[in-house]
Symmetry: D2
């Protein structure tokens, strides 16, 4: 099965790293570290191989992919020598990236139609069996509620009347579903999580997944919180501090945009523990951090007879290097889910997300068990 | 079901904290924080309630339990006011503590017989339905192998001949099993883990469990290692540094004794990940730490395309406060296992141990699932 | 020389700890840890001994000092047994605490006159040679500028006309100086740092000092920054995160009030290094921290050939225990300065402050050298 | 003034980084970060400019300097592109590196004579005014005492008789002094610190300095310890844990060799504080750390009324990048000292060392003041 991976934000750090990585792995230039679906647990699930992927996408910037890759090589996100080695193939991908932003005079309906047409053209031109759209664009602020979100009818009526009712991430989700593609939201944005889009996905028999890739601090939180829970150690407070640079840092320096992120980051602890915890999360833009992120968490908890103890951790990660393989994993899994006839939200993919759709399960180990069980189930279904 | 909990090392910090805590919980003076078996998952398992426990034990020191409790109150291990409130009940427990050490002129066989007689007298005098022996004495150095360990026959022959062949912890295990009691080893010592003692346990239809309570650094390790594993992040090194004071610190300052501990601590990471990792573990005796322990771990790992990242954590815990409720949990679980007719090692209790008997599963969440499934199974069995 | 120490915020944690500590030291119940002026370097400076201090103060709450001390004993800020031992003496101090808040119908001039009268009465009743007023009340928001601050004439005219022109901390400074007392501001509030009050201090030949006691994170910053500076290691960013509870935590949870604090904390790094640094500082109110504060700092710096390196530190301190001895030190030093005829700001006391008056020197070691040199100079002056 | 810098261990990481850096700075390809003597405080001291340096040295390996530099570029110790740009100049330096090890059949006297001859030839061939020898070879185990160390006479007699009496580092120091060069020991080895060599240095009117460059954990220790001291905060324990890879890690994995290092690292805290402190230091060889070192320190201290508090820090540094500029600084300073007629130990250079000769001052800020005062004094002396 050949698969198209259409990346929204195709020239960003995460997308570029995913493309460079997939090309490198395919060429035997890199190991498969960080790719969850390359473990033996997924060998029988009928996932499309990375080797058969074709890449394209939307973006609002014009910097060529090969140049972006070069910069990521300088920053230590990808091996320094790879971008030059892969320059030709990166140029080919670059040629399949279309302008994503709204053009002057375009209604939102026209914008969506153009985006969907781009995805359909990509599918036809590349001859792939199926396309998965993954949103790796910048975080957007929390969406304003609108009556047109309530049903597909209401949404389509509003769009036909020329109204602007969808946040950008949802517009891409709408276009993806219109073009017959599964949609995965790797950001904390709204994406497909509106009743109208859920309805569309089910009507079109397409699956969707999200939101907000779990790559660093929250990954650790969702690993540690069950330890406190199963040991009956009562967490009193869990403070998180994140410093990061890069484009992500700049976006999140805007308190309005970062609100989506801190909300998404804040949910897992209380939901896992089953009680409210003082759990402030800060995100600071520190430009010299570049593509790297450091998180410091301080956890205070009460043990037997009320004795107070603490744990701290520092996580020093490269977000794009953590996110990129998950994007490839999700593309493989969503493509297979679509092929197997699943439609609507995919709660079994909660392992990958800070804020999983259709699931309130945040415990990482349990999420992994659910994922593996689902993969085992897929193994028995028609390819 | 009333249960006797016989503590080897009954005047040590862990035992004293367990007794103070059980008495306080029973009297409504403290919450049930830290007690794993008080969570709803164990409500139907038919575990003997803490309220019905009677405490006794062996020790080699003479300091009265109430005085030891007073010192733990000063050190912040138990609430300052509790020891005075519980002084009478602590004195009653103290009256049931027997001298544990070998007496002049005693052969090891005679020593064992005396210990077993102490346990039997306790059972009769207190009228409990069943006794569980839990070893919370100091860590002993790794045992010298001896041919008499190979079978119960060989062991009994050697003992009859007046030989000294068992490490102390195993002598207590032997006495416990002879006295008809389940045995739990909360230390990294040999305990019941000799073929001869396994044979005895099976013959007497008694269960045993161990070794080395998982309370701090290793608890976190066994929680975090699966995260790296399921995310396919390749751990390159995992360095651990522990500083602690108290009696435990003094014992572990002896490199020979600490060897049991560092071996026990070192196993979980490589066994979980499935490959060898540079994973040195240090333990330093820092007397001013008192009953408190600080562990610092540094983990280096390789992600997608070989990008190197790190995680560090600092754990600041009170070992006795972490261990004591687990001792009570284990006593409840082992008593119930004995009642339900289980004999030999109890791998389902691996959740509590650094080095679980009859199991190479170290992943905390999986261990918890196994434990809960076992508890559910117990629920269906005769009380 | 007997000295009166008049504490603004006399029932707060810092003041209570200072009083308990001074009484305990005097009674031989505690060592002189944390008291800078008890080191041999100050032995010849003619400082008034702690033994001769009499305590009083203003506060807006009514909780008796002995009860406040009891709570601090429970929280581990002072030894548990001390408050009971010192109860009588604490009650005597409590009897000398006067209500500080503005009363209904009072103009600011009347309020100041009442506060000054309280201080004068205290001086007469206790028969001390000299009174020093130290402000340890809650942090107040940055003051609004007002034309009446520009000169003593302007200020007195405005007050006579019934206007309210001074922030609370400055009102206390005004009252202190009117009553013939030296004034020390241990908070980041405005205090005596207005041209009008500087003029008053000089006219009355009284010294003043401040602001904002340097007790934790900033203490470490002012120690480490010179290391980077003298080694020519270029600091790129210095991020600080503080979590604390208690009354201080609650006050600083108000972003307006915390602005004074974060401003005060942010200055030292750039002023020491001589260039601008990205140096965000956060303060979070985490109630379960109680009287304890944890700070995490992350410093990124560039070495030879632009190699990027990092340092992190975690400081886990008890603010009141760190601040209280400095309050006593400052009272001794300010009393001696007044006796020796110094008037106006005391830049030699910068060692104690985050934001020293009349000094832009933040390097701790240099500040100490300046302090010791000044103490040596005092030694030669008439007592 | 043109100066020759003769490096013992000229192909090691520190030496290679120093040479690459000096060449890069000279060519305007890099900033002067990390070079202490480039700050304005040293502008008038008459130090020889980096621009006039000629490099040579001894080593026991044959790997060309340009290749070593290439590897350091890959490891992120020097900018990736620099080694290629500077390849020709590196080859020129490489051509001036002589085999350092003892040859078969050579007595120690003959070995020393050969080494001295190498240095003299270098001086003549390069036409420099003066040569400084800096030892940056691997750490050697603590030296065995020998009667021949007691005086120059005894030493020369023993050498003439064909005896082997000097540890390697001291042999190089002997050769350097014989060749008329100042000697600086950047390692914790014995170097010039023997009465016999001190006598030789004074006779030849040559200065020497050392030992053990203060680049990381100890740098921070010597910065922080005075903070605790001047604030009268009583340090109870100071635990240090170091993990590192590279050649240094491999050398220090040998407990005998690491003894010199841990001794050198352990001294500063107690000497600064003036009392004994529990201060264990560990060094672990963790090969995946490569050229990078991480140190974790845990400091427990007692404040006012005995309240216990803690501080932790993590230092993540690149040792070669920290050491290399100090080597250049020391060469400039030692050359100027020799020119100005100083002979014997140079205590004013203690700022650079963990274990300074002829000084027990470890406080970094004070060491800096001493250094700057000495530089100011040099300014007034003949060039």
């Amino acid at each position: 099965m050949s698969t198209g991976l259409w990346l929204v934000g195709a020239r960003g750090s995460v997308a570029t790293t995913a493309v460079v990585g997939a090309l490198a792995v395919r060429a035997g230039l890199a190991a498969r570290n960080g790719l969850v679906t390359e473990s033996p647990a997924f060998a029988e699930a009928g996932l499309p191989p990375l080797e058969g992927f074709v890449f394209g996408g939307h973006d609002v910037t014009a910097m060529p992919l090969a140049k972006r890759a070069e910069a990521l090589g300088q920053a230590g996100v990808v091996p320094r020598h790879l971008p030059a080695v892969l320059a030709d193939e990166l140029d080919q991908v670059d040629a399949r990236i279309r302008p994503g932003g709204r053009q002057e005079g375009e209604t939102q309906a026209e914008h969506a139609a153009r985006l969907a047409a781009d995805i359909r053209s990509f599918a036809q031109a590349s001859g792939v069996d199926r396309v998965v759209v993954v949103n790796v664009a910048s975080t957007e602020p929390p969406a304003e509620p609108h009556p047109a979100h309530a049903s597909l009818d209401a949404l389509e009526t509003a769009l036909e009347q020329g109204a602007t009712v969808l946040p950008t991430s949802s517009l891409y989700a709408y276009a993806a579903l219109q073009a017959g593609s599964a949609f995965v939201d790797f950001t904390p944005s709204t994406g497909a999580r509106l009743p109208a889009l859920d309805e569309l996905a089910r009507r079109e028999r397409l699956p969707y997944a999200g939101s907000d890739g779990k790559t660093g601090e929250t990954l650790v939180k969702s690993t540690l919180a069950p330890m406190f829970q199963t040991r009956e150690l009562h967490v009193q407070s869990w403070v998180g501090m994140n410093i990061l640079g890069g484009g992500d840092g700049a976006t999140l320096a805007d308190p309005h945009a970062s609100l989506s992120k801190t909300r998404s980051k804040g949910r897992s602890v209380a939901e896992t523990l089953g009680y409210e915890v003082v759990a402030p999360v800060h995100i600071d833009n520190v430009p010299d951090m570049g593509e790297w992120k450091t998180a410091w968490d301080h956890i205070a908890f009460e043990g037997f007879l009320g004795v107070r103890m603490t744990m701290q951790f520092t996580w020093q990660g490269c977000d794009s290097a953590l996110a990129a393989p998950l994007v490839l994993d999700l593309a493989r899994l969503a493509a297979r889910a679509a092929q197997a006839g699943e439609s609507g939200p995919l709660p079994a993919l909660g392992f990958f997300f800070k804020d999983p759709v259709a699931s309130s399960e945040h415990r990482l180990a349990t999420q992994y068990d659910v994922l593996v069980a689902w993969a085992r189930d897929l193994a028995g279904r028609s390819a």
